[in-house]
Amino acid sequence: MSAASTTFAAQPRRGFRGFYVLMLAPALVLLLGLYVLPLFGVVLISVTEPRPGLGNYELLLTSASVQRALWTTGRIAVLTTLITLILGYIVAYAMRMASEGAQRWMLFCVLFPFWISVLVRSFAWITLLRSEGVLNTALRGTGLIEEPLMLVRNETGVLIGMVHAMLPYAILTLYANMRGIDLRLMTAARGLGAGPVAAFLRVFLPMTRPGILGATVLVFIISLGFYVTPAILGGGRTLMIAEYVALQINETLRWGLGTMLATTLGISVMGIMWLMSRVLDVKRLFGPA
């Protein structure tokens, strides 16, 4: 402290720097003390409970139920990412090609569901899709079906809810990328004799590669850790990692197993982000929409 004040006296310009450095302090203290430290706690528990060592991590290779949760998570995350990217690309592309006014409206249609909490959205889906729900009642009322369609409390329900939750992320990422593309390039391609399909495939699509990559990674890593939507729409039958972890902690009190899976999940996500940061600017990916 005294060293700092002498520098301040001797070199006023450095004093100003000191002031700005101090401005970082509250956020850093919060982040390190209440975020990073508890995360280290998770890693620590995973190698100390119930006994020290990597015993918990062995379960990744030996436990059938752990592997089932991992497989379910991977499968759902990949399917969600695939469907979301295709649907998201269609919307983002249509937005890019639309008029200014239409773009604003479309953007609003993307942001509105994005801002509604996943909890409320999952509840809306349950109301719509459960066997006594609005959709099944209506369909049976018109005589189109005899038996209710099983749309929730299974993997179909989880996929519908997750694609719905992830679409805005994909659309916003892709659209941000597409906005930087000069549409006259397409006109030029057409003028040089390319058909509409060729102009899209060989001119537009390659330029959206960073957007596709960004959206894929973003949707995939968020899907990996999803909890609320699969828990509600899966009805406990489609256990993804996050819900499985919560079960270990709340029901069976197996902290070692729960923290091991949480650590694995966290490290996987960080690993994917790190790989990605070598290709793209990650901070821009997380810019609030």
């Binding site: 982040l31 508890p38 902690i249």
Partner: protein, 266 residues
């Protein structure tokens, strides 16, 4: 050029946008059902479930707790996050780049991982089930939103303004409060809105650290969905959607102002 396959593109995009927007609206008619179970209103409309929302002490206390937690955690995140973003902007070095990257950690790491960590941490500190505990946890996870929006705002601010203020004799605090902050107000407000919505909607952390004393609105909805699917949830959901819509419109207005300033300043 836009005509080729344009119709198909527009129809598909329209359908996907409908899939995005429409499902949420189902909660409005359902909230008016006269029945005691989740259904579309049949044989008349009833406001009883909305009445429950505004008279039942459980829902009322949930609303109160959520408002209190979201307001205080937003204030904390705003103060710390804005200061941090300004400090990083002014210092501008590789180290501050690292600080800014660290600040987005809570957006990257799945919430369930943090929920386990903060739960054990709070057991040690005896903060389980306390308002203070939830406020702090929501503040730290709300930080990234503030840092990102304020940083975006600062990117449009000419650093020469700050130098000019200083050379005209303003002290650092004066420069901050009279020159820098007024110029990035839209960014700060946007960050505050994001942080507020984050806390207002947050469920997973609260499930873990709320104990048996605290029940925020999302937690009441969660319990309701898992227990009895009471139509009162539809009324709550409708109210939340309307609230979200209002906040979103404010934010879009702010964003337009921010873009306007950016355009004016360049």
């Amino acid at each position: 050029m836009a005509q080729d396959g344009g119709a198909l593109r527009r129809v598909l995009a329209g359908l996907i946008l409908a899939f995005l927007v429409l499902p949420a609206f189902v909660v409005f008619p359902v909230s008016l059902t006269p029945n005691r179970y989740l259904s579309l209103p049949s044989g008349g409309v009833s406001w009883q479930h909305w009445q429950t929302l505004f008279t039942d002490p459980v829902w009322l206390s949930g609303i109160r707790e959520s408002v209190l937690i979201a307001s205080l955690s937003t204030a904390l995140a705003l103060a710390a996050g804005t200061a941090c973003a300004i400090g990083c902007w002014r210092l501008g070095s590789r180290l501050t780049d690292m600080v800014r990257s660290a600040m987005i950690l809570p957006l990257m790491i799945p919430t369930i991982v943090y929920a386990l960590g903060i739960y054990r941490f709070y057991v040690e500190l005896d903060l389980i089930g306390t308002m203070l505990g939830v406020i702090l946890a929501h503040a730290v996870t709300g930080l990234p939103y503030v840092v990102l929006t304020v940083t975006a705002s600062l990117a449009n601010l000419d650093p020469a303004l700050e130098r000019a203020a200083r050379s005209l004799g303003a002290s650092v605090p004066q420069t901050l409060t009279r020159v820098i902050v007024p110029n990035i107000i839209p960014g700060i407000l946007s960050g505050g809105i994001f942080a507020f919505i984050h806390s207002w909607d947050e469920l997973i952390i609260v499930i873990f650290i709320g104990g048996r004393e605290l029940f925020t609105l999302p937690q009441l909805i969660w319990d309701g969905i898992n227990e009895n699917l009471d139509p009162a949830i539809a009324a709550v959901a409708s109210a939340l959607i309307l609230f979200t819509l209002a906040v979103l419109l404010v934010e879009l207005g702010l964003r337009r102002r921010r873009q306007f300033r950016a355009a004016r300043d360049t």
